[in-house]
């Protein structure tokens, strides 16, 4: 998994996170921990839902369980966007 997430993708991830958590955008940075942002497991699934809608991707449960911080979250999202680009949309999973 590449760590070089394009800045516009990262920005959209942070914005989606802030909107879902009802937080000011400036409070959400790539270095923020889920704990600092008050994100519990239920918030987590709401965020995954919002990201799936924002990027038109499907985030598998297995991948979601691995995510420990915002950097990993953004990397995971970017990787799913890339794999979506490589297969016809109706078979993307």
């Amino acid at each position: 998994m590449s760590a070089s997430v394009p800045p516009e993708i990262l920005t959209r991830v942070l914005r989606t996170l802030a909107e879902t958590q009802k937080l000011p955008l400036e409070q959400v940075t790539p270095e923020s921990t889920f704990e600092q942002l008050g994100i519990d497991s239920l918030d987590g699934i709401n965020i995954l839902f919002a990201l799936e809608n924002e990027f038109e991707i499907n985030i598998p449960d297995e991948s979601a369980r691995q995510v420990r911080d915002i950097a990993q979250l953004a990397e995971g999202v970017y990787s799913l966007i890339q794999s979506k680009a490589q297969v016809p949309p109706e078979t993307a999973a």
Binding site: D40, S41, L42, I45, F49, P60
Partner: protein, 403 residues
């Protein structure tokens, strides 16, 4: 007035078969009813398995006219109730029928009918839905249909507390009979949760397993939905003995309460308090319990929290207990689960054995419990059955062989 309450009949329809006897035979064999889902559109659905009551054929139990107002969840309740009543041999005089209670549990009610009706409105642009849509989808449809079939006119209602519904229903019926507010009661739960919309909703919550249900096991991937019904006939022990009825066991105690903690996360403190209160209600010590039918959903968090709560309540004594998590066999039948689990506990007490937990791979140090992983003979006098619902609403029953 405080009376001892006997269970004199049980009925079960589930993925394990159409009767309590078939249910128990599958438990004996450790044969799980979980398999690939059938008869549903599954394209784009992550959930591909479930514990469906595939052998259930409504036409064997109802004529076409009877089926018109009955959703599958109500059909299941009626069939399980008929079995329980036949076993108990209960016959009521006309004046007793006004004191005969029916308490059913259901999380969803007539979800299948609702799904079909609304689908025809939204997608087929149908100008109307079937006029029986409301009678079919109301959560009390099973209870109401049973009052009509039996002519019982006492207290009748339906409890909807997600995964604890049936335990709440059985517990409240137990209290009615115990305190003389009803002479007899029929109690349990039923659920028919398999619709496309419902699968997508569970998928979104990210607690469903991609394959099977492995409670308390390393590598468990979550819960697996099930469908079915379980029903119990409750009556005063004295009445049962006087008429020579078969007494499976007594319900000795019941407790219910709220975690007030989180809408989906369980609480070890809440679960432990509920077990303690149920034991206190039964007037028994933790050390007297031989078998615990765990809530045991097979989700990452439930099993860790429940294991901690069990250790807190039973201490070192837990190691002498058998923990059985039968959702691995009959699936998580939501509002019916507690009733199916009660059937497994009652038959376990009758046969002095314990139903197994299927699909177990390896112990998880995060949730160590003395799990029964194969059907085994096990001498015990008392058993406890846990239900801990989403929303933090908990209900625990204690069953006891009569002295």
């Amino acid at each position: 007035m405080i009376r001892r309450v006997a269970v004199t009949g049980i009925g079960a329809v589930s993925a394990l078969g159409g009767t309590a006897a078939e249910f128990w035979e599958a438990c004996r064999q450790g044969r799980s009813g979980i398999g690939p889902l059938e008869g549903l559109p599954l394209e784009g659905v992550r959930i591909q398995t479930g514990a469906q009551a595939l052998g259930f054929d409504p036409s064997k139990h109802f004529d076409d006219k009877q089926l018109v107002p009955l959703d599958r969840f109500a059909q299941l309740a009626i069939v399980a109730a008929r079995e329980a009543l036949a076993q108990s041999g209960l016959a009521l005089r006309a004046e007793e029928k006004t004191r005969a209670a029916i308490v059913t549990g259901s999380c969803y009610g007539g979800k299948t009918s609702e799904d079909q009706g609304f689908r025809s409105l939204y997608f087929d642009r149908s100008p109307r839905v079937h006029p029986m849509t409301i009678p079919r989808l109301m959560a009390n449809a099973g209870a109401s249909a049973l009052t009509l079939e039996l002519g019982w006119q006492g207290p009748a209602w339906t409890v909807s507390t997600a995964c604890s519904s049936a335990n709440h229903a059985i517990g409240q019926a137990f209290w009615l009979v115990r305190h003389g507010l009803a002479e007899v009661a029929l109690a349990g739960g039923s659920e028919a949760p398999f619709t496309y919309g419902s699968l997508k909703a569970w998928e979104a919550l990210r607690v469903a397993s991609p394959d099977t249900c492995r409670p308390f096991s390393k590598g468990r991937g979550g819960m697996v939905l099930g469908e079915g019904a379980g029903m119990l006939v409750l009556e005063p022990l004295e009445r049962a003995q006087a008429r020579g009825a078969p007494v499976l066991a007594e319900i000795a105690g019941f407790a219910m309460g709220a975690d007030a903690h989180h809408i989906t996360q369980p609480s070890a403190a809440g679960a432990a308090r509920m077990m303690r209160e149920a034991l206190a209600g039964a007037g028994c010590e933790a050390g007297e319990i031989g078998v615990v039918n765990a809530h045991g959903t097979g989700t990452a968090i439930n099993d860790v929290v429940e294991a901690a709560a069990l250790r807190e309540v039973f201490g070192a004594g837990l190691d002498g207990i058998r923990v059985s998590a039968t959702k691995s066999l009959h699936g998580h039948a939501l509002g019916a689960s507690g009733a199916l689990e009660a059937v497994s506990v009652l038959l376990g007490l009758r046969d002095q054995s314990v139903a197994p937990t299927a699909n177990f791979v390896e112990a998880d140090p995060e949730c160590p419990v003395p799990l029964a992983t194969a059907f085994e003979p096990f001498a015990h006098r008392k058993a406890l059955s846990n239900s801990f619902a989403f929303g933090g609403l908990n209900a625990v029953l204690v069953f006891s062989l009569s002295e």
